[in-house]
C-alpha cells in the first residue's frame, strides 16, 4: 500500500488546474462520476486523477456556507429518488442546530468510484457540520464492498479521513453498514430505522431526517451517486456543472444499460440526451428484433416507448411519462417481450420487497400479481383489466412510501400504450410475443420441416408424430403436433434447427 503523503498546498493548486475537464465522449457519454473502466482504482492512481483535491480545496479555501452555495448554484439534484435539490437539503441540515450530526450515504448496491464517493462524503460532512458518516450497502457480499473497505483504509492512511483532516481542525470518519438485501431499506426513513436497529420500514417524514434523523440527530441522507458528483463540481465550478444538462436537471446520470442492446454496460450521460442516442449510439443498437420499449428504473419504474425516443431524457420527462428513475437503469425490450408477463414479474418482485406496513402495498402487490398471473395464464377477463387499472391507480395514490407508490407505475404507463396486447390476452387469449405458454399454439410449418425428427425425440409427452407429407425438395416426411397432447412446453421449438416451429 502506498505511503506517499503529498504536501497540501503545492499539490492542490497545481493539480486542481491540471485536472482536465471531463469532455463529451464520441459515443455521447459524459463521465463525471464514473472513472474509465480501464483506470485502476487504488489510491495512487486515483490521486493522479485528482482525488481529494476538491476536499483539500474546501478545507483550505471555503467556508462550509460557501460550499453549500456552490452546490446550490450548481443545480445538483439528488440522484437517489425524487430528485430533490441537494444544496437545499444540505442547507436545512447545516442550519439545524445539533451537537452531533450524521451523514448517511445510501449506496444500495451502487458501484461507483470509491475515492470519489469518500471525497464527496467528506465535503458534504464539512459543509453541514457532520462528524460521523455511514456508508450503507444493501448486502455485504457485493464486490464493491471489499473495494470500498480498501479505499476507506487508504483514505484514513492518507489523512483524508479521521481526526483533524490535513490540519484543518475538521474531523470526519466513515463506518460501513450492510443491509439484509431488502429493497425498501433504500427509502430514507426506512434506512434510518434500520440503522437504528429497528424493523426496516418507512415512517411518515415529519420532521425531515435533515432536522431529526439518525438517533434523533440532524442527518443528511444522500445517494452514492450524488456524493460521487460533488468533487467534480468543486473542481470545475458550479457554472460549468450547470451548463451541462437541461433547464431543470443539471449534470449527468449514471445508468445501467441492459437488455436487447448490443453494448450492455454501465454508462454516464448528460441530462437532455435522447433515449435514441442512448440505445442506438451508446448501446450500439438492438441486439435482436425491433425496439418495443425501454424499462426504466427497474421494477418500480416504468416504460418509455417509441414516442419517447427523441425527447430529452431528464427527471421532468420521466415524471411526465409517469416513470420513476429509481436506481437508474434502462432495460431495452424487443417485440419478444410480453407486456403482461413483464408486469407480472415486476409485481412479483414488488410483492417480495414490500415491507408490509401499509395496506395498499402489502395486499395490493399480492392482488395485482394474482390478477396478472391470471391474465398470463389465459384465465383473464376484461373485468380483470379494469381491476388492474383501478387497483394500480389506488396503490399509486395511497401507498406510504416510494416502493408501493412506484410499483404500479409500470401498469399505469403501459396499460394504454399496450392496451391492445392486454385485451388480446384476455379475449382471444393470444400472446403475440409468445411468452405466455398457456396461450401459445405450436405449429410446424410442413414446408420448412425437413423431417429430421429432433422435435419428436425431445417432446416429453410424445405429442409429435410424422405425417406422410414430404415437402418439395425434402427427403423425409414432415412432422406434426397433436394439439390435444401438447403441453406447450416449447421444447420442440427450441430444438428445431430449421425454424420450422412457431407460435401462432
Amino acid at each position: 500500500m502506498s505511503t506517499e503523503n503529498i504536501p497540501l498546498h503545492e499539490d492542490s493548486t497545481t493539480a486542481t488546474s491540471s485536472i482536465p475537464r471531463p469532455e463529451l465522449l464520441p459515443d455521447h457519454q459524459l463521465r463525471i462520476t464514473l472513472r474509465n473502466p480501464e483506470e485502476p482504482e487504488d489510491y495512487c492512481s486515483a490521486r493522479e486523477r485528482g482525488a481529494y483535491l476538491a476536499l483539500e480545496r474546501c478545507l483550505s479555501g471555503f467556508k462550509p456556507r460557501e460550499v453549500i452555495s456552490l452546490i446550490r448554484a450548481s443545480g445538483l439534484r439528488g440522484r437517489g429518488g425524487a430528485g430533490f435539490s441537494t444544496g437545499e437539503k444540505w442547507k436545512v441540515c447545516a442550519e439545524t442546530a445539533g451537537s452531533q450530526k450524521w451523514l448517511i450515504c445510501n449506496a444500495g448496491e451502487g458501484d461507483h468510484d470509491c475515492h470519489r464517493v469518500i471525497e464527496g462524503m467528506a465535503i458534504a460532512a464539512y459543509a453541514v457540520g457532520a462528524s460521523q458518516g455511514i456508508l450503507y450497502f444493501r448486502a455485504e457480499g457485493a464486490p464493491v464492498v471489499a473495494r470500498m473497505k480498501k479505499a476507506l483504509d487508504e483514505a484514513r492512511q492518507q489523512g483524508f479521513l479521521g481526526a483533524d483532516i490535513k490540519g484543518s481542525g475538521f474531523s470526519f470518519d466513515i463506518a460501513m453498514h450492510y443491509g439484509i438485501g431488502s429493497f425498501v431499506c433504500g427509502e430514507e426513513t426506512a434506512l434510518i430505522q434500520y440503522l437504528e436497529g429497528n424493523r426496516c420500514e418507512p415512517h411518515v417524514k415529519q420532521p425531515f431526517p435533515a432536522v431529526r434523523g439518525y438517533m434523533g440527530h440532524p442527518t443528511l441522507v444522500n445517494n452514492i451517486e450524488t456524493f460521487a458528483t460533488v468533487p467534480a463540481i468543486i473542481n470545475h465550478g458550479a457554472e460549468w456543472f450547470s451548463s451541462i444538462g437541461t433547464d431543470t436537471c443539471k449534470g449527468t446520470k449514471v445508468l445501467t444499460l441492459s437488455g436487447q442492446v448490443k453494448n450492455e454496460s454501465l454508462i454516464e450521460v448528460p441530462f437532455g440526451i435522447t433515449l435514441r442516442e442512448i440505445i442506438f449510439t451508446i448501446g450500439k443498437g438492438m441486439k435482436n428484433g425491433k425496439f418495443k420499449a425501454a424499462l426504466i428504473g427497474g421494477s418500480t419504474g416504468g416504460v418509455l416507448t417509441e414516442q419517447h425516443l427523441d425527447l430529452p431524457f431528464d427527471y421532468d420527462m420521466l415524471e411526465e411519462a409517469g416513470v420513476a428513475m429509481g436506481p437508474g437503469s434502462i432495460q431495452v425490450l424487443n417485440e419478444n417481450s410480453c407486456i403482461p408477463t413483464l408486469l407480472k414479474n415486476n409485481m412479483e418482485f414488488a410483492a417480495d420487497e414490500s415491507c408490509g406496513k401499509c395496506t395498499p402495498c402489502r395486499i395490493g402487490t399480492k392482488r395485482l400479481y394474482e390478477v396478472l398471473d391470471k391474465i398470463t395464464d389465459a384465465r383473464g377477463t376484461m373485468d380483470d383489466l379494469q381491476e388492474l387499472r383501478n387497483l394500480a391507480q389506488v396503490m399509486h395514490e395511497t401507498s406510504l412510501c416510494g416502493l408501493g407508490r412506484n410499483a404500479p407505475n409500470l401498469i399505469l404507463n403501459t396499460i394504454d400504450v399496450f392496451w391492445d396486447e392486454l385485451v388480446e390476452h384476455v379475449t382471444t387469449h393470444r400472446c403475440v410475443a409468445g411468452q405466455c405458454k398457456k396461450m401459445a399454439t405450436f405449429s410446424i410449418d410442413r414446408e420448412k420441416c425437413i423431417g429430421c425428427g429432433l422435435c419428436m425425440r425431445n417432446c416429453p409427452v410424445a405429442a409429435i408424430t410424422r405425417t406422410d407429407y414430404i415437402a418439395p425438395g425434402h427427403k423425409l416426411a414432415s412432422m406434426a403436433i397433436d394439439l390435444d397432447k401438447c403441453v406447450k412446453c416449447g421444447t420442440c421449438k427450441a430444438n428445431c434447427k430449421f425454424s420450422a416451429i412457431s407460435i401462432i
Partner: protein
C-alpha cells in the same frame, strides 16, 4: 394559528394539528383504522399504515393520510371527492380480501372497527379474490391470538411496547406475510407478556381476544352437585351498563346482582369485601414496615408496592427481579376472596372445597391468568375456578334474555358481600392507596379520620406523587397506572432519586376502570374518566368508608383469622413472587 378549509368549511387550528383533528374539530368525520389515541394518557399509535383516512389536498399529486398530515396555511382539503372516496373504499376492500369474513361467529362482531367501516362504506362484495395469509393460532391462558384477522394496524405493538414498555409484540415477516407476534413467533405465554390485555382493548378487529370461561361456568351452574358462588370486582358495576346502551359511568350494582341471581349463581358476593380484607393486610404490612424502618431495621425495604393488580405482578416478576421483596406479599382481592370462600365460608356452610365453584366477574384479562397460577391452588383445586370479564357477563345476560334495565336492585349476599367505600375505590387509579391510607392513618394515629377523601391521591395523570400527613409523620406516596409509567417510577426508585413509603401501581390506564375486560372504549378516554367518577360516587354513597369498619371483616378476624398479618392470615392471604427475568427481552 393556521387557517385552512376542509370541504369548503374554514377552520383555524394551532400549528402541528393534523388534518384529521382539524376535521374532527368542525364535525367532519374522516374514517380511520390504524390511528389510535387515548387522549390525555400519552398513548398514540400513528403508523399511517392502514391508508383508510386518505383525503385529497389541493396541489398535492397524491392523496394524503389525514392522520399523519399536518395542516398548512391555506390548505384546501376535500374529504369526499370521488377520488378520495374510491381510494378509501378500495383500501378497505383490499383489507377484506385478506380477511376471514366470519363476522357471524367472530368474538368482535358488533364492536369491530373493520366491520363498521365495511358497513359504512356499503361494501356488499369483496372484489379481489385471492390467497389469504395464514398464521398459527395462539391460545394462552388469558389471550387468544387469531392473526388471520390481523390488519396490521400496529395498535397492539404500540400499546405493548411504548405504553406498557413490555415489548411482547413486534411486527415480523415482510409483505403479505407481515404480522404482529411475539419474538420468533413463539407463544404469548412464553413471551414477557403480562396479560394486562391492553393490546386486546386496542385491537380494532377480532385478532386479539380474551379467553372465555363462560361455558364452563354455565355448566357448573347446571351441575346440582356444585355450589356456584360469584364475586364481582368494583370496576364492573360502573361499566356493565354500557353494554346495554346506558351512559358510561352509570352504576348498575343492584341490577347486576339481580342478573347474576337470575343466571343461577347460588350466592352473589362482592370482591369489594376482599378489597377491604386486602387493606387490612396491606395497611398493616405498610405500618409494620414503616415503624420497623423508623426503628432502624435495615432489613426492611421501602417503599411498599401494592400487589393487587396481577398484570403488574407479572410485570415486576419479569422486569424487577431484584425487587421481589418490595411489593406487598398480600394476594389480590380476587385471590383473597377465593381463599376465604373455600376455607372460612366453606367451613361455615359445611361445604367441601371441591364442591364449591368460585367464579369472578372482573374488568380484567390478567385475572384469567392469575386464577390459574399454581400457588393459588390447594391440591390442584384453584381458589378461584373461573374468571369472566365484564364483557363476558354482558354476553351471558343477553344470551339468557335478561333485560338488565328492567331488573330490580338487589343486595349482595352476606357475609362475603359486605363492603365499605374503601373497597369500592379499588377500581380506580389511586383508589387502593387511598383506601390503605384511610385505614393505616387510623391504626397509626389512633385518631379517627373525619375527611376520608384524599383529593391529592386522585386524578388521571400517569404518575402522581403526594404526601399525606399522618399526624406529624409525612407519608410519601407514589401512584402509577400503565406499566410504562410504573417502570419510569420504579426506575427512579431503584436509582435512589426519589423516596416513597408506598407506591400503588395499576397496569391499566385509569386503573381497573380501564381494564381490558371492560366494554371497549375505542380510545375514548372520557369513558374511562366517567367510570372513575362513578367509582368515587359509589364510595360517597356508602355508609361505611373505611375497610377496618366493615363488620363482616371484623367478624372474619375474630372468628377465624386472628390478627391481620398473623399466622393464619399469612397462610391464606399472602403469596410470594418469582424471578421470571429470563423472559424479558427489552431494556430501557
Amino acid at each position: 394559528m393556521i387557517n385552512l378549509t376542509i370541504d369548503n368549511k374554514p377552520v383555524q387550528v394551532p400549528e402541528g394539528t393534523t388534518v384529521l383533528k382539524a376535521a374532527r374539530q368542525i364535525g367532519i368525520h374522516i374514517p380511520t383504522l390504524c390511528y389510535y389515541e387515548l387522549d390525555g394518557m400519552k398513548l398514540e399509535n400513528k403508523p399511517a399504515g392502514c391508508r383508510v383516512c386518505m383525503v385529497e389536498i389541493k396541489g398535492q399529486k397524491r392523496l394524503m393520510a389525514a392522520c399523519a398530515t399536518e395542516c398548512k396555511e391555506g390548505m384546501e382539503v376535500h374529504t369526499n371527492s370521488l377520488r378520495a372516496v374510491n381510494a378509501r373504499r378500495t383500501v378497505v376492500e383490499l383489507m377484506l380480501s385478506d380477511h376471514p369474513s366470519d363476522c357471524l361467529t367472530c368474538s368482535k362482531s358488533g364492536d369491530c372497527d373493520l366491520q363498521r367501516l365495511s358497513q359504512a362504506m356499503g361494501i356488499r362484495e369483496i372484489p379481489f379474490p385471492g390467497e389469504h395469509s395464514h398464521h398459527r393460532k395462539d391460545i394462552s391462558p388469558a389471550i387468544i391470538r387469531d392473526m388471520d384477522k390481523c390488519i396490521m394496524c400496529r395498535r397492539c405493538e404500540t400499546v405493548c411496547n411504548e405504553f406498557q414498555t413490555v415489548g411482547a409484540l413486534h411486527a415480523i415477516n415482510r409483505g403479505f406475510n407481515a404480522v404482529v407476534a411475539p419474538a420468533f413467533e413463539q407463544d404469548l405465554v412464553d413471551s414477557p407478556c403480562t396479560f394486562c390485555g391492553q393490546c386486546v382493548m386496542a385491537c380494532p378487529v377480532g385478532a386479539l381476544n380474551t379467553v372465555s370461561h363462560t361455558r364452563q361456568v354455565m355448566s357448573a351452574i347446571n351441575n346440582p352437585k356444585k355450589t356456584v358462588i360469584v364475586q364481582t370486582a368494583p370496576a364492573v358495576r360502573v361499566a356493565l351498563g354500557e353494554e346495554f346502551g346506558m351512559q358510561p359511568g352509570e352504576v348498575v350494582t343492584g341490577k347486576m346482582v339481580a342478573a347474576l341471581r337470575r343466571l343461577g349463581f347460588d350466592y352473589v358476593f362482592d370482591t369489594d369485601f376482599a378489597a377491604d380484607l386486602t387493606i387490612m393486610e396491606e395497611g398493616t404490612e405498610l405500618l409494620d414496615r414503616i415503624s420497623r424502618h423508623m426503628a432502624g431495621d435495615k432489613s426492611v425495604r421501602l417503599p411498599i408496592l401494592t400487589s393487587c393488580c396481577p398484570g403488574w405482578v407479572n410485570f415486576f416478576e419479569y422486569n424487577f427481579p431484584d425487587m421481589l421483596d418490595v411489593p406487598s406479599s398480600a394476594k389480590s382481592p380476587q385471590q383473597m376472596f377465593g381463599s376465604i370462600a373455600k376455607s372460612y365460608w366453606a367451613e361455615k356452610m359445611g361445604l367441601k372445597r371441591e364442591d364449591i365453584v368460585c367464579v369472578s366477574i372482573m374488568p380484567c384479562v390478567a385475572k384469567k391468568y392469575e386464577c390459574g397460577r399454581d400457588e393459588f391452588k390447594v391440591d390442584g383445586n384453584p381458589d378461584v375456578d373461573f374468571s369472566i370479564s365484564t364483557r363476558g357477563l354482558a354476553r351471558l345476560i343477553k344470551q339468557y334474555g335478561i333485560t338488565l334495565s328492567e331488573l330490580p336492585e338487589e343486595d349482595f349476599d352476606r357475609p362475603l358481600g359486605e363492603s365499605t367505600g374503601a373497597g369500592v375505590i379499588f377500581g380506580s387509579t389511586g383508589g387502593v392507596i387511598e383506601a390503605a391510607v384511610r385505614t393505616a392513618y387510623e391504626l397509626y394515629t389512633k385518631k379517627s379520620l373525619d375527611r376520608v377523601e384524599f383529593s391529592q391521591l386522585r386524578g388521571i395523570e400517569g404518575i402522581r406523587e403526594a404526601t399525606v400527613d399522618f399526624d406529624g409523620l409525612p407519608v410519601h406516596i407514589g401512584i402509577a397506572h400503565g406499566l410504562g409509567n410504573a417502570r419510569r417510577l420504579l426506575e427512579k426508585v431503584r436509582s435512589g432519586k426519589v423516596q416513597f413509603h408506598a407506591i400503588e401501581v395499576m397496569a391499566c390506564p385509569g386503573g381497573c376502570v380501564g381494564g381490558a375486560g371492560q366494554p371497549f372504549h375505542h380510545g375514548n378516554s372520557d369513558i374511562i374518566r366517567k367510570r372513575q367518577e362513578a367509582i368515587y360516587k359509589e364510595d360517597r354513597g356508602k355508609a361505611l368508608r373505611k375497610s377496618h369498619e366493615n363488620p363482616d371483616i371484623i367478624k372474619l378476624y375474630n372468628e377465624y383469622l386472628g390478627e391481620p398479618c398473623g399466622h393464619k392470615a399469612h397462610e391464606l392471604l399472602h403469596t410470594h413472587y418469582f424471578d421470571k427475568s429470563d423472559k424479558t427481552v427489552i431494556e430501557i
